[in-house]
């Protein structure tokens, strides 16, 4: 990549918003490279950007750094933090991580080309926030082993019968939890204007030993946030076999419409 040798910095894009309105904060707002975050605007739409050093954010270096989880975490959190700041002041379209231009003129050209779709995408998230609900299945200890009350020795045939009954019971517990989770998702959807289902996270990613059965994202009108939170609480009481965790409000990461210029990442059907 020849440009890396001729340029010192590149322009990292955090988000697109409407107003050229610097986020108000007492502290200095710094981005992924510790740089000052600034706005590039065409008047109609505005990009939130920062100038990053190419020796740290050039193609090869960045690729390597993103594959190191500690550095990925640092960059991802800094990126997310800027998007949150902007989102507190106005509707925001979060840019996916590592959207980088050679200079501001490329950003301006992108904003001009994508103006219509950016404006309509901004309109679709205005006054709305994303909430995340992860639903876990609580384990049912009684289904894990044959009844322990039978202390007397039992025949092999009797053991197999009990064992089979236990497996059947466990399967029924799992299926019941899946149905309950789907029903909870439907109830949450009635309070939301749009929904997405992310793939349930593996235990090592969620950090929770319980199996995750549903990982939902919900776009909710700001004035209905309290309704949404109450619905989560009610569902938690209604379905004792499930544990629900609520995150948010998030910038509307999961609800991006797009076209050729602003492409929506290809994803599995929800």
């Amino acid at each position: 990549m020849t440009s890396e040798s001729t340029m010192d910095t590149a322009v990292w894009v955090y988000a697109v918003c409407a107003e050229d309105l610097p986020p108000s904060t007492e502290e200095r707002l710094t981005g992924v490279d510790g740089e000052d975050v600034r706005m590039v605007t065409t008047g109609a739409v505005t990009a939130v950007v920062g100038s990053v050093r190419l020796d740290r954010f050039g193609e090869e270096t960045l690729r390597r750094r993103l594959n190191d989880l500690d550095q990925l975490e640092e960059i991802a959190r800094a990126h997310h933090r800027i998007i949150e700041f902007v989102g507190h002041a106005q509707p925001v379209l979060p840019a996916r991580l590592a959207t980088v231009y050679a200079d501001d003129s490329g950003v301006v050209a992108m904003l001009e080309r994508g103006r219509e779709s950016l404006e309509s995408a901004l309109a679709s998230v205005t006054g709305r926030e994303e909430w995340g609900v992860k639903i876990y299945r609580r384990s049912d200890p009684s289904a894990d082993s044959p009844s322990s009350s039978e202390s007397a020795p039992i025949s092999g045939r009797e053991y197999l019968r009990l064992r089979k009954a236990a497996v059947t019971a466990k399967q029924a517990t799992i299926e019941s939890a899946m149905r309950a989770a789907e029903e909870a998702h439907r109830m949450l959807a009635t309070v939301a204007v749009d929904v997405r289902q992310h793939r349930p996270q593996h235990k090592q990613l969620s950090g929770d030993p319980r199996p995750m059965v549903l990982n939902g994202a919900y776009l909710v009108e700001q004035e209905r946030a309290a309704d949404f939170i109450r619905t989560v609480d009610e569902l938690a009481s209604q379905y004792p076999q499930l544990a629900l965790t609520l995150t948010g409000p998030w910038p509307p990461y999961s609800f991006q419409a797009g076209d050729a210029v602003i492409q929506h990442i290809t994803q599995e059907p929800a």
């Binding site: 990549m1 590149a10 697109v16 954010f57 050039g58 193609e59 690729r63 993103l66 190191d68 989880l69 500690d70 990925l72 975490e73 991802a76 959190r77 990126h79 997310h80 933090r81 949150e84 379209l93 979060p94 840019a95 996916r96 991580l97 590592a98 959207t99 980088v100 231009y101 050679a102 992108m110 995340g132 992860k134 609580r138 992310h198 793939r199 349930p200 996270q201 593996h202 235990k203 090592q204 969620s206 950090g207 059965v213 989560v232 938690a236 009481s237 004792p240 544990a243 629900l244 965790t245 609520l246 995150t247 409000p249 990461y253 999961s254 991006q256 210029v261 492409q263 990442i265 994803q267």
Partner: protein, 109 residues
């Protein structure tokens, strides 16, 4: 009460850094969601797609990633300080197929 507010809920409209937010939740969103804009510098989609696929494999199943020879996470304390991968459950098998399918386009030159 089964909602765990302290686990995931960030302070609402707080300007404080969201350091407490679960990293998996952030990665899921900044890598896999969000506006995709064509940038100038090609750090870009292919490399990030690769990373995204790796992350997706992780989300689907660590065992699957292992079988496919992807072990970048193995040396990361963030992942390895927890218990070893659980055996595959039915859902993982289904996701395994999805993970394989997702990987195919990336492998093409």
């Amino acid at each position: 009460m089964t909602v765990d507010p302290d686990r995931g809920r960030a302070p609402q409209h707080s300007a404080a850094p969201s350091q407490s937010t679960n990293l998996g939740d952030i990665l899921e969103r900044v890598l896999d969601r969000g506006l995709v804009i064509v940038g100038d510098i090609r750090i870009s989609l292919l490399d990030i797609e690769l990373l995204t696929v790796k992350l997706r494999l992780l989300i689907a199943s660590v065992d699957t990633a292992q079988q496919l020879g992807i072990d970048w996470w193995r040396h990361d304390p963030w992942l390895t300080n927890q218990q070893p991968p659980a055996p595959l459950e039915e859902g993982d098998r289904i996701q395994q197929i999805g993970a394989r399918a997702e990987r195919v386009p990336v492998e093409r030159p």
